[in-house]
Amino acid sequence: MAADDRSGMLKEAGLAALVAFALAFGLVGFKTEDVPGGLAIVLRFGDVAMIAGLAFVGRLALALLRRGRPRPALSMALPFAIVMLILLLAEEVPLPAADWGRFLPFASPVVNWLIFIAAFAIAGRAGWTLWCESAAPGTEERHRIMGRIGARARRTARVLGPIIFVVALVLPLFPFADRRILDIAILVLTYIMLGWGLNIVVGLAGLLDLGYVAFYAVGAYSYALLATYFGLGFWICLPFAGVMAAFAGILLGFPVLRLRGDYLAIVTLGFGEMVRIILLNWYEFTNGPDGISGIPRPTFFGLAFQRTAPEGVETFHSFFGLAYSPIDRIIFLYYLILILALITNLFTLRIRKLPVGRAWEALREDEIASRSLGINPRNTKLTAFAIGAMFAGFGGSFFATRQGFISPESFTFIESAVILSIVVLGGFGSQIGVVLAAVLLIGMPEFFRELHQFRMLAFGAAMVLIMVWRPAGLLAHREPTIRLDGGGRSAAAGQ
């Protein structure tokens, strides 16, 4: 190994350690803790040192890999990964007379697992390179590899869709599907549905909408107000909430017809805020910041999910002769949102093949060309806004009935941003990509809840990683809506 090469690598690793130290010093080094009589600052410089050390070692291994020296990288990473795994497993199954956990670098199991995964990934990469006896991939190579993985993923997407569907269908039947898992699943499905709805506006019609949550709010408040003022049930209000949201979509659509790109984004953002502020300030009607509580729960064809039903209503468990179980209602909500999401998906898949759906895509590609083909841009855009908003409205009324309580706080800009992130990270217009992105973006922060305030840091890191590896989204690929007898595929395969 050349001397300058070695010093270069050490410098690189040292720099990484320095950056890690600088970040960790502030973020991890000091922690406030509640003690009797106020807050106390707990110093965690041991953790800071550990972070800097791990950053140094990890970066060194990566540098070795990048310079085509997989052997030393492997000899560093593999023993480390194995030791980590043994310690982690030993802690999971507590062995007598030994506190193995104290040898682990951090107190949080999730962080330890992440470190193990990183070490394992480096070891795997090094091993793979040795196996292939070729140099570690450069940037170009990596793009090609990721592109190939993407292409394979697209091929498997056909299979992946049905698999995910079946898993989603039987999820509540699994023994591990407790209330917490189902709640996360319901949340993820809600965002999948919203992602699919926004995908119509952003992915298909190409209209960047930063105020999508406004329609979600309109749907939620439509149901909540109708239910509390007039005592209407969920099933009657559901279509009505969709209609109201679609109407709001048209209302937004008219003034922004001529706007495009950044300008459109700004106006839609403003619209989203307007709706939220109206809900906040129209106290007599919406109850303002206090929100609306006591929103009725949905019924199963008139059967209530309660232990004892009010007069004149039969309960689900008594009708079917079952013992009462509170999880019945959760499972029912799960299937309800699953069906709503699937309707959104099937609708989108179908409408893409109809003239209006094709007109959306044409408009996204080239508005001038679309007009010269006889597409009416005004009606086309308005239908996109209206239909996208309608699904948000359905989602909103589901949200209201699930929570039982809504307030303007649930409909802030950050919600729009998250839904848009799901669409963007999934790859514009990709249905299965939205599912993956929603699982990642919504499911993962729930999974990482143990990390407390660093949860959002992990979220950000995941976003950065996706943008580095798949800059156009997880599954950025537009499936043609028409093929003639499957011929001529080889020519298109490269795309």
Binding site: I368, G374, T481, A491, A492
Partner: protein
């Protein structure tokens, strides 16, 4: 012969700039008429004014007896005018067959298969490329696709804006041969805007010469080809 397109006294502005200064022009049914002129003469503006974008400030555009002066582009197009716009403007991320489908979006889907078959007969290369994305086609193929897409709406009048732009001479010949074929076999009236004056006048029966937003000359192609002024301005020095 009855009139298919009549443009009378058209003035069009871009802001304060008067791009068309009173243009009169007529295309009869079944004809191929060409409009030649230098860069910036207002040729494309005229074509776009016919399609309603930008609107004419003064004057009238009549298509087959219908006044279309104030109508919106998509409504005009649905009357039976098809346009292969400047710069081709095919949909790059859509496949060839999807592009053709977009061309037929405003018309009866019943004829789709038949029309696709006929177009593949005229442009065999498009049949080979039917599942390839538009953006990956060569310039000539894209131009063929633009014309093919325009033809998918079964128009009575076809407006072409510089179909020869950026193409090799051999391809220009091929494209012009197809335009002739469309005109003769499908009985489609063609209004062709071109800088390539020689080929355009060879193809068309009549021609107009435009400069600075006005029609300078008009007449049968053979006359224009023989005209000293035209020869000096547009034909000499290679075509």
């Amino acid at each position: 012969m009855s009139s298919m397109l009549r443009v009378s006294g058209i003035h069009t502005f871009y802001g304060n700039v008067e791009a068309l200064r009173g243009v009169d022009l007529e295309v009869n049914k079944g004809e191929i008429v060409t409009l030649i002129g230098a860069n910036g003469a207002g040729k494309s503006t005229l074509l776009m004014t016919v399609c309603g974008n930008p609107r004419a400030a003064r004057g009238r555009v009549v298509f087959d007896g219908v006044d279309i002066t104030g109508m919106e582009t998509h409504a005009i197009v649905r009357l039976g005018i098809a346009q292969a716009p400047e710069g081709r403007r095919i949909f790059p991320r859509m496949t060839v067959i999807e592009n053709l489908q977009m061309g037929a979006i405003a018309s009866d889907p019943e004829y789709f298969d038949e029309d696709v078959e006929r177009i593949f007969g005229q442009f065999p290369i498009l049949k080979e490329r039917r599942d390839q994305r538009g953006g990956t086609l060569s310039g000539g193929e894209q131009q063929m696709l633009a014309i093919a897409r325009a033809m998918m709406s079964r128009p009575r009048l076809l407006l072409l804006d510089e179909p020869s732009l950026g193409l090799a001479p051999k391809l220009v010949k091929q494209i012009f041969a197809v335009i002739k074929e469309i005109n003769e076999q499908r009985n489609v009236t063609v209004f062709l805007v071109e800088q390539n004056a020689y080929h355009a006048l060879k193809l068309a029966g009549r021609g107009y010469v435009m400069a600075n937003g006005r029609i300078l000359l008009s007449g049968a192609s053979s006359e224009l080809l023989a005209n000293k002024q035209v020869r000096a301005a547009y034909l000499e020095g290679g075509h």
